[in-house]
């Protein structure tokens, strides 16, 4: 509980509100959206902003606002799934690698090195290409592409913890290998993994959009921002709002995640004090004394 409180203090209200807003929309979107996001109505196609359809309609007469809301749901659902999968598998590999060491560690880390040295989108694109474009294939592909980061992260924490006195004493006390791994090493790594994941969510959201934009992720008619944008691209001249709105939604969401990640990183390991900050701090200190 205290950890959450500290986190909230470090992140600040505006960022929490921003991310909370998107999560709220994603969860309760079904009740909020004025129309069915996939319902077509050609009689009301290509309307601009108006009272009936607030953000207008697309070329098939689908309500843009409803589709934007559904897009938030798709993106956040995808991000959560990928993070869960990649986090679990990555932690498993990292723990094995860090705990056993030796040649297992050597081989696993070489493979992880490769995964880290090649951009994730390239790996994900190749995997989707082999298994076919589809929402679930995209999720699995991204999860595979994201495993190395979490494996590396976990391995670092576990390898550092394994030789600590408290693990040593557990072994002396007769704790089994499974008990040490599950009850003591995994929780130690879980913190770093969760923190990294919160910062990583933005990058993932961008990549889901990238793949969907290329027609290799979320398939129409399911609403997703990248896919909405590519569908609207031919009408850029007549209806730029159909391109701008999904792009803007995605940008704002990713800004939220990135600010969150930055705030957490700053709280975890504050920047060395620059001269300017030093002066500022000194002034505050003087004010405190004067008061």
């Amino acid at each position: 509980m205290k950890a959450i409180k500290d986190l909230y203090k470090a992140v600040g209200l505006p960022i929490c509100l921003l991310i909370g807003f998107f999560i709220f929309i994603a969860v309760f979107g079904k009740y909020l959206s004025p129309y069915d996001p996939n319902a077509q109505n050609l009689l009301k196609a290509s309307q601009t902003f108006g009272a009936e359809h607030w953000f207008g309609t697309d070329n098939l007469g689908r309500d843009t606002l409803s589709r934007l809301i559904a897009g938030a749901r798709t993106t956040l659902f995808g991000v959560t799934l990928v993070l869960l999968m990649a986090g679990t598998v990555g932690m498993l590999i990292g723990t094995i690698s860090g705990y056993f060491g030796g040649w297992i560690d050597e081989i696993l880390m070489r493979i992880i090195d490769f995964g880290l040295s090649v951009p994730s989108l390239v790996v994900a694109l190749a995997i989707v290409g082999v298994f076919g474009p589809d929402f679930w294939n995209m999720i699995i592909a991204l999860a595979i592409a994201w495993v190395p980061i979490y494996a590396r992260l976990t391995r670092g924490v576990v390898a550092a913890a394994v030789n600590q006195p408290y693990i040593e004493s557990l072994r002396v006390l007769g704790a089994s290998r499974t008990r040490i791994i599950v009850k003591h090493l995994t929780p130690a790594a879980l913190g770093s993994v969760l923190i990294y994941a919160s910062a990583d969510a933005g990058v993932l959201a961008l990549n889901i959009a990238n793949l969907s934009f290329l027609g290799l992720g979320v398939q129409p008619p399911q609403a997703e921002w990248g896919q909405m944008l590519v569908a609207a691209l031919p009408y850029l001249e007549e209806a730029p709002r159909l391109v701008i709105l999904p792009g803007l939604s995605l940008t704002v969401m990713v800004i939220g995640f990135n600010l969150l990640g930055e705030a957490i990183a700053l709280a975890k390991n504050p920047r060395p004090m620059s001269k300017r900050r030093l002066f500022q701090r000194r002034r505050e200190f003087l004010k405190e004394i004067a008061a």
């Binding site: 989707v128 474009p133 930055e262 620059s274």
Partner: protein, 312 residues
């Protein structure tokens, strides 16, 4: 020095080998009957005899290890197989499509360097000023903006509204401008931040205070004294971002309808063109590994501190 460089090259070589294994396994793991798929793509009546013939041709009955060996030997000879869709030789197609991608990455590199250095030096000239704060804000916004959205907005602003620049196709230098900006702007903002932070750090070192007390102006100190100090950091960041541009090209090329290798990769993924997919994955991985290696070696040569640390 040489030993460390060789060591670095060796580990890059190991990565290349793993890349080749990965590229191979991925296609070998194709769900379903590859031979049947190929036979189907070739058109005509698909019978068991045809499927068997295809399997024979692609050596699909051989053990995996043998197939990997054959494949590596072929790749070494520059034979990447033929596209399943068009029947074109993959190596020839890649050769033809290399030019647009290289132009885009070169243009993006220039944009990145200009944007990054100009912004960071302006920020360092007037620390805490409007530009300084603007850079900080811009960096967050810029890493959050989807590349395809940025490209679409550039097309809208310069192509549709002002009607200044061509937005479609690879036709001469004027059509190179928008893609270069689209691919280079985000890395430029990242670079500006890296350069700005290391400039700030350099400007708080004692030798800068000495120079100030000698009465030199801020501009002179920035360019004559601080600039050489941030070169290794900027070079590393530049190289890393340049490598990542190879990835961005995948998304940007289709928007501007450029026939580069990024677009080739996407097409292959769309149509399950296995040999092309395999070759592209290998090509991108190897390119990425090589760029990173070259940057590491360059920094080794440029940075006197690293050189001294290695000698000692």
């Amino acid at each position: 020095m040489l030993r460390i460089a060789l060591n670095r090259a060796m580990s890059a070589l190991v990565l290349v080998v793993i890349a080749s294994v990965f590229s191979f396994i991925l296609v070998a793991a194709f769900p379903g009957n590859v031979a049947a798929l190929i036979a189907e793509l070739r058109g005509g009546f698909v019978s068991q005899a045809v499927v068997d013939k295809v399997a024979e041709e692609y050596r699909l009955h051989d053990p995996l290890l043998y197939r990997y060996g054959y494949w590596v030997a072929d790749v070494m000879h520059g034979d990447l197989g033929k596209s399943l869709r068009t029947g074109e030789e993959v190596s020839k197609a890649i050769e033809k499509r290399l030019e647009p991608t290289l132009v885009m990455i070169a243009g993006g590199g220039i944009v990145m360097l200009v944007v990054g250095l100009v912004l960071s030096f302006c920020g360092a000239m007037w620390p805490g000023g409007v530009i300084d704060r603007f850079i900080r804000m811009l960096a967050v916004v810029n890493i959050s903006i989807p590349k395809f959205f940025l490209a679409a907005m550039l097309i809208y602003a310069f192509g549709v509204m002002m009607n200044l620049l061509p937005t479609f196709g690879f036709r001469g230098p004027s059509s190179w401008i928008l893609p270069s900006i689209a691919i280079g702007l985000v890395p430029g903002a990242l670079l500006s931040r890296v350069a700005r932070v290391s400039l700030e750090e350099t400007m708080s070192r004692p030798f800068v205070i000495t120079a100030m007390s000698k009465g030199f102006g801020r501009r002179r100190i920035l360019f004559r004294d601080a600039l050489p100090n941030i070169v290794p950091v900027v070079l590393t960041a530049f190289g890393m971002n340049l490598a990542f541009m190879i990835q961005s090209a995948i998304v940007i090329e289709p928007i501007f309808a450029w026939q580069g290798i990024g677009a080739y990769f996407v097409d292959a993924a769309r149509f399950r063109d296995l040999p092309v997919l395999q070759s592209c994955l290998l090509l991108f991985s190897v390119l990425f590994i090589i760029v990173n290696l070259v940057v590491d070696l360059l920094v080794m040569v440029v940075d006197p501190l690293q050189r001294r640390a290695m000698r000692g």
